[in-house]
Symmetry: D2
Subunit: 352 residues, 4 copies
Amino acid sequence: MTPPLRLAVAGVGNNISALLQGTYFYRGLAERLPETEFPGVLRPRIGGLSVSDVEFVAALDIHPDKVGRDLTAAVLTEPNNYPLLDTVVPDQGVLVEQGLVESHDDADLDRLAGRLREAGAEVLLYSLPTGLQWAADAYAEVALRAGLAFVNCTPESVARNEDVLRRFVAAGLPLIGDDLASHLGTSIVHRRLLQLLGERGITLESSYQLNLGGNEDFRNLREHGASKRESKLNALAGDAATLGKVEVIPSAGYVSHLRDNKVAYVNVEARGWANTPVTVELRLKVQDSSNAAGVIIDLIRVAAAAKRAGLSGYIEAVTLQLKSPAGGHHAHTDESIEASLAALDAPLAAAV
Amino acid sequence: MTPPLRLAVAGVGNNISALLQGTYFYRGLAERLPETEFPGVLRPRIGGLSVSDVEFVAALDIHPDKVGRDLTAAVLTEPNNYPLLDTVVPDQGVLVEQGLVESHDDADLDRLAGRLREAGAEVLLYSLPTGLQWAADAYAEVALRAGLAFVNCTPESVARNEDVLRRFVAAGLPLIGDDLASHLGTSIVHRRLLQLLGERGITLESSYQLNLGGNEDFRNLREHGASKRESKLNALAGDAATLGKVEVIPSAGYVSHLRDNKVAYVNVEARGWANTPVTVELRLKVQDSSNAAGVIIDLIRVAAAAKRAGLSGYIEAVTLQLKSPAGGHHAHTDESIEASLAALDAPLAAAV
Amino acid sequence: MTPPLRLAVAGVGNNISALLQGTYFYRGLAERLPETEFPGVLRPRIGGLSVSDVEFVAALDIHPDKVGRDLTAAVLTEPNNYPLLDTVVPDQGVLVEQGLVESHDDADLDRLAGRLREAGAEVLLYSLPTGLQWAADAYAEVALRAGLAFVNCTPESVARNEDVLRRFVAAGLPLIGDDLASHLGTSIVHRRLLQLLGERGITLESSYQLNLGGNEDFRNLREHGASKRESKLNALAGDAATLGKVEVIPSAGYVSHLRDNKVAYVNVEARGWANTPVTVELRLKVQDSSNAAGVIIDLIRVAAAAKRAGLSGYIEAVTLQLKSPAGGHHAHTDESIEASLAALDAPLAAAV
Amino acid sequence: MTPPLRLAVAGVGNNISALLQGTYFYRGLAERLPETEFPGVLRPRIGGLSVSDVEFVAALDIHPDKVGRDLTAAVLTEPNNYPLLDTVVPDQGVLVEQGLVESHDDADLDRLAGRLREAGAEVLLYSLPTGLQWAADAYAEVALRAGLAFVNCTPESVARNEDVLRRFVAAGLPLIGDDLASHLGTSIVHRRLLQLLGERGITLESSYQLNLGGNEDFRNLREHGASKRESKLNALAGDAATLGKVEVIPSAGYVSHLRDNKVAYVNVEARGWANTPVTVELRLKVQDSSNAAGVIIDLIRVAAAAKRAGLSGYIEAVTLQLKSPAGGHHAHTDESIEASLAALDAPLAAAV
């Protein structure tokens, strides 16, 4: 039996609500369905770990309504608005503790590292709101001092920072990041449509993509959308031909009653034979934080399995699930990604 | 200078209207745009032939309003309803001749073969309404007797018929077919969406695809849709997991005012992490016969280039543009397709 | 206290499932919400009757899997596929009885009339599949012999038949029909869009409407759609200007996994100032049988209240909820409809 | 023969491009179509004036690329991006003159008034970008001094300002405003959908409306959208029940390649019988400035006809084509609007 992954989380937002409730949902499902048939799961096992093999051992946040509450209650506390799934989630016996503030000092990092070691954590999952580079740096430092694998879900630069990466390698610790790709995001759907046009010889004329939602991410994006727009355009415009023909609106609107749902509208205007028009209109609706948790579950399992296998630094297995992997997408091939995944299962095979 | 492709057409429907008008459209466009920037064109040159290098040397049909008219007038004759493009198409000096009827005899085939030889045709393009196996057989026989390459646009079995294929090989003639894939069809868009779900670990729950249009194909399909439905389901359900979860309605409706436009609605209901819903709604609108002509232009250029290069039988270069290629899709690899394309350009390179 | 409506039903399909489950759903809701706030209810009370004041006293069907079962079990029996609502529906103590077959004789009608009298029914609701004129006639005759109000949900001609209407008047019994309008149907949404264009001076160019679903109605319609198409076109084309510009496909497809849901796509192409284009695309999704039950609940309450008030013949109060009211839509004004509704509540007011 | 309307315009943006080109488009159309069949025209004649009976006699703007050019050239000058219609628009013989700037003095108003009198203008159409209250005030003052009818297309308060209205009444001049409703706008489509739900007893759960476009209005709105959002919400939420359930995003995005097109997405989530879901998704695409010009053509004809008929102050005939009519919508009835329209045609009838 593979022992469960011992997870510490920094940030107790909707993503953690989706992750926590989801692990219990699948635990219940396992009673009547083989795990190979679990809906919404890409890989039933990574390094022997199932999607339910997660034990939350520590949780950090600074929201006064969350700190001091059991994690199970905290994930359902506003402004979190991920739905309450139809599954029983018992108290975790883990109270949310006060996280770092920007004015922390070095002793705070040490104390926190000690706390996570004491809790027996293997992996520290960094999942704070976008835009806090200082926090990403600080929690990565805590992971190093505590001897944990680190997973960065945000666009902040951590695994792409070569100094930081070198320090994780030196410490023999895995470092996973940066910026998780959605389980099924607007960008990949949009990109695949544009690629398909190119393959077929249909000429793109113009295209746009709008995203709207009702969670805190969308409220924040409405104000800080410019950098997100750049990043999403980059994700699309691999092909030089599309530059200037595609517009992306990362947060077209904060619509509170959408809650944690995300709606995207994609339009493509193109030209076929003899310049006759081709039009595609697409609407995508997803549960936004499920879209994150469905990827986080792989990132943390890869991080734990890698740590247990004695691997360190960036682990290529997660490359397709990140927007900005260490080294960039071009540094990794399908073959090297497959090999990395296989390496995580090797110790298990050896043990048999 | 590569001499233009000398084309004979069996069937003077919308597809031929799109093909004829399109060749003149691009001829006009060439005066102000390099051919590498032509909209809606996948390959500017095949075997040295541009998309305008087509000379219509013979045309066959049985519609009384078309027979006896110059091809330029005939393609605009009802029930044809492809739009009149904004380009000048001069008379072709080719009158539509009476085509074969089901009660033809062997002498008719000989006479027709003689006629096409006399016209100097290189390629016979078969583009009659779907469902006339006898006609496909007869015109293929005519091509053999006349020494022409043959291109079958329809689902009728010609290139898949091993006997027929052998006879073309023996005669040293190319045989291209069967059933052209659309330039950008509903099936490929739908399939790519379903594949993307699979890649990401999103679980398909149900999906449907509806097609509607206002040309003769849709009027016919409304009655004979069952076999088309099977063929479209096969195109989608590569993955066993989708069997029974996907419904396809090839002709949901004949809507006369859509004329030669095709509209498709695709719905995908799926499940992500923790069984939360993922929904995609897509609407595709295309000019139906442009969608055919954009592929026909490649099929006939490949046929002519192959014939000129002394190649015979099925030419792999066209495989991705056919729904039912000779030997089936699995008999051809990306590499063999590329090699086949390259072979068509080799004589030109040698000539330089 | 108004005593509950004593209802007999002919046909135990999805509509009756929606009606039965719905009455219990609202009974439960009444414990925590005032009836004026019930979702999906147009009129909380009609003649003193709430939406829960329905007692099923007899049920008739000919499906072998339904006959002999308690009504609560029968409504959930295939091919019925209305969803199981999240509410407890106890057994009704009413077994589904064998209904009439086309070869019935006069004695069968008498026996059935006796049976319904014995059950104490006030209203006979006719809700068989579309197209059985003989059955509509026979059940109306049964209602007359048993002294019941009659409600015809189907397009069959009953209330429009002046002879039949005269006999109900003579018998002092209400007759409600024909053909219920949906609670929120594609036709009314489509018509309102077209009317709006007209009001604003936007010129319609073309429009289509497609409907698809997964219940037995859609399976039947796929084959017998022509008359439904006519009826739907009539519903739209009040304005002569739209004739020939609008296409309606009542059953574009039977998609089994939609079950009792109906999806409609509506497209409108129009022209504004200087002939510039205006386009509307609309998608409507509803629970098909809820769409019927939300209207049936008013029809049967009007029927019962009218009978109790001693009114006979066609009751104008229901006119806006029927597609083909007795006398046609033009025979009834907003004022006469309002007056008819008021008359149903008058006895209650008098009693106070 | 009714003499043409002599129009002065303040602001030479897309709306004026649509208005100018449109009048010539219809002039050409009149050669082959009776005016009662003109597409996109609500009222062929108002006070005897056809949609082509407009003579542009003066034009004011401050954009350096427009000032000094003939109006025909100026309306096609960037950032204007209304399409070039397929109609010949000759030079107007009217050069765009320098308009008012915020630092103008009283003498500027006098000089401008003199200029417009000299040009023989009847109506001054105010069509500057939204948000310049000082400009609306100043141009209204110019109209008063010059003795012209005034039409305010913008949300600025002019006709709603009782002092200003009194001064126009005292001067015997018509004053039309404020804020033109679109010919077919998102608000009216959305409102009608919500009203329909209410009429049928379908309960609204939530709804949103997004608008996007590529003209200067959308670029401005992206920044100053808050007041527009309020105004649009007010337009919708006539029914108290919808307050808080509806979200409106006036400018979800500036998408430059949409140019002068506007795209709106509307979503409605509601509940029918037994709380089962009803969903409507709608996409509307219009030529934004045609949507304005199709209403402006009525506003200016009403203004001119009223002036010629000796009517002064607010003219009720235009009430349905304004978002904020003088006195508010509730001050005007269908009857008073009809009577006002009739009064404009009375002088013509008398003349016959």
